[in-house]
Symmetry: C2
Subunit: 68 residues, 2 copies
């Protein structure tokens, strides 16, 4: 789902860091959408894990466990 | 690896979108690191796919295939 939260410029930086020379705009947009979807999934799982531990605050360990 | 390319505020937005009420700073930092690592991995694979297709420009289809 399109959330458009991550900046397109950051997608370009990540792809250049990976070694890309030229990147189309739609490739950056696809990257943003994929990372946002993954991020939302991790977030939802992390929230369940925090609730499971009777906490209201999402902590680092929730994120790390959710991403496993 | 710490790249610090994605904004922390965007991590907060993604986590709130997922339904989080309170999020520790280190949770946002962990989220950033995980998404950056995934992004770099997708980027590296996308670059190989573009080269495989004898292209220098990373296109949307490279990103999508790399993320499968």
């Amino acid at each position: 789902m399109a959330k458009k939260i991550l900046p397109i410029a950051a997608m370009e930086k990540l792809l250049k860091k990976a070694g890309a020379a030229r990147i189309s705009l739609s490739a950056k947009e696809a990257m943003r959408e994929i990372l946002e979807d993954i991020g939302e999934e991790i977030g939802e799982k992390a929230i369940r894990l925090a609730k499971h531990s009777k906490r209201k605050t999402i902590k680092k360990e929730d994120i790390k466990e959710a991403a496993r």
